[in-house]
């Protein structure tokens, strides 16, 4: 669009300049003609014209992410403004960060209260001294691989979310910088290994974890967590199955969203990674909170539970009390074989 006023200008400076200008214009037209000719074979993408020349509509369009042309080769450089990031910031800083802290702190508080009020789930009768095999070496190796990676990933992830609020001041800039770098590297490189380990565990243990009618009765009696009752359970009780499915579903969501962020080399947009970050953060925080429950029940909460995952063998008293159906199954098999 050539400004209308130009031809009417009659200053001497401009009259002098006019022939020169004409010459330049001629050259420009010539060359632009040439370039036009060389580009004419390419189909020009239909561009939406932004109404008004730099008027309010123009700014509104830019604010809404209107893209243009740029020489920058950076991804999404053709957008002047992308407000999506602000939304992500609000969600991450105002919701995920505090909600995660409440979820984890709340779970810890409930567990502590439960431990104080109800205490450890003790064995009802003395140990027999003879044991039954509950977890094979491969199962245990798998459990502790996943558990170790989970803990490292949880600590490094929590450091990246909450560390700056107190760790930087506690460690000092230099140590904090190195620790944060180590956390990021651990998170990014161990993450994919965790994905593989988790998948193996899910596949290996899924057959034990389909719910049946015994589990409904187990849940109806609150899993025998409080009081003297011990609802029947097979190899896995209802609670263990529930944890398995929580870990399976939440774990896979965390793995997939994590991989989206861990491999930025696939040209995914910022918006995709923002969404992945929110999903990854909120679901993993819930998973960490839930894992506190699992860790409590497996250690301080139940007498003799940790032995199973440590040595692979549990005392017969423990087996009878917590997994009676499985115990009888094992005993019958044993007697069949003899």
């Amino acid at each position: 669009m050539i400004p209308h006023k130009w031809p009417s200008v009659t200053l001497p400076f401009h009259t002098l300049l006019l022939p020169l200008l004409a010459l330049t214009l001629a050259f420009t037209l010539l060359f632009s003609g040439l370039t036009q000719a060389s580009n004419s074979s390419e189909a020009r993408p239909a561009e939406r014209k932004v109404a008004s020349f730099a008027g309010p509509e123009y700014w509104r369009a830019i604010q809404q992410g209107e893209a243009g042309q740029t020489q920058s080769q950076t991804r999404e450089a053709n957008q002047l403004i992308n407000v999506q990031g602000e939304e992500w910031r609000q969600w991450r800083n105002q919701w995920v960060t505090p909600a995660g802290a409440y979820a984890m702190g709340g779970t810890l508080a409930v567990l502590l209260l439960f431990y104080i009020l109800v205490g450890q789930n003790k064995l009802d009768s003395p140990r027999t001294g003879s044991t039954v095999e509950r977890w094979k070496r491969f199962d245990r190796a798998m459990h502790w691989t996943v558990a170790t990676l989970f803990i490292i990933l949880a600590i490094s992830g929590l450091t990246l979310l909450y560390g700056k609020f107190f760790l930087r001041a506690a460690l000092g800039d230099s140590l904090w910088g190195n620790y944060a770098t180590a956390c990021k590297l651990a998170h990014n490189y161990l993450g994919p290994i965790f994905v593989v380990a988790l998948l193996v565990m899910i596949i290996k243990w899924m057959k034990h974890n389909f719910f049946n009618s015994t589990d409904i009765k187990w849940f109806m009696q609150g899993g025998g967590m409080v009081g003297k009752t011990h609802p029947s359970a097979g190899y896995m009780n209802g609670g263990e199955k529930a944890w398995f499915w929580v870990l399976t579903i939440a774990g896979l969501v965390v793995c997939i969203s994590g991989l989206v962020m861990d491999f930025p080399n696939f040209d995914q947009s910022r918006e995709t990674m923002q969404l992945a970050n929110l999903i990854h953060g909120s679901v993993s925080l819930l998973l960490i909170a839930a894992s506190f429950g699992h860790i409590y029940i497996g250690t301080a909460g139940t007498e003799g539970a940790l032995e199973g995952m440590k040595s692979g063998h549990v005392d017969e008293t423990w087996a009878k009390q917590h997994h009676d159906l499985w115990y009888h199954e094992v005993k019958n098999e044993g007697s069949d074989k003899q």
Partner: protein
């Protein structure tokens, strides 16, 4: 205390990319990174408009708010700077920034992005002013020398203004007055018979 701001006059920017080149040259910006870029909307169409954009040194900077290692800091002049030593290359500042200012030298697998680089308003970094370390990591520190950012200083049409917010707006306000314009700052609306009053030649100046 001054409040440093950039302002790009969309009526003057001619998309010469001189600011981009000036910045790259002055700051020895890493290969593949452009701290400043010019975006042209309606390229080749009537109403073509270009804007040069870089870090806008926000008062409430989103990059600062989301950085997990808290490497950002704001100078007394309101310039948003960062400490590359603490940067872990997570990319969160890039997610949060509306202007696409933070950039990374790489985007390889396992989140290997390298250390973030962005416009420093030619104010260097946390190292000693104009030390070789500062120069190597962040480029020039013109502010310490009492100079303004190279991009704005080199702008041929003075579309890109940099400096104290009050002075920048004074200059721009003066331009707007001389443009003799209903709509003031940026342009006419469609109501004015589609005439562009940006360069009102009957006015003596600007």
């Amino acid at each position: 205390m001054a409040k440093m701001k950039f302002l790009c006059d969309s009526k003057r920017c001619i998309e010469c990319n001189g600011c981009v080149t000036a910045c790259k040259n002055e700051n020895n910006v890493e290969w593949g990174i452009q701290r400043r870029r010019v975006v042209t909307i309606n390229d080749g169409e009537p109403g073509e408009t270009s804007i040069s954009v870089a870090c806008m040194h926000c008062t409430d900077a989103p990059c600062m708010a989301v950085c997990p290692t808290d490497v950002f800091y704001q100078t007394e002049d309101g310039i948003v700077l960062h400490n590359k030593d603490g940067c872990i290359g997570c990319g969160y500042c890039l997610f949060a920034c509306p202007f696409g200012a933070p950039q990374f030298p790489s985007d390889a697998a396992f989140g290997e992005r390298g250390k973030m680089d962005k416009c420093t308003f030619c104010a260097g970094g946390p190292e000693e002013d104009n030390s070789p370390e500062e120069k190597a990591k962040y480029g020039a520190n013109r502010i310490a020398e009492g100079k303004l950012p190279m991009c704005a200083e080199m702008c041929s049409t003075k579309a890109l203004l940099a400096g104290d917010a009050a002075e920048v707006s004074d200059i721009f306000r003066e331009r707007v007055i001389y443009r003799g314009h209903n709509d003031g700052a940026w342009a006419q609306t469609t109501l004015q018979n589609e005439t562009d009053l940006a360069y009102d030649a009957t006015q003596p100046k600007a």
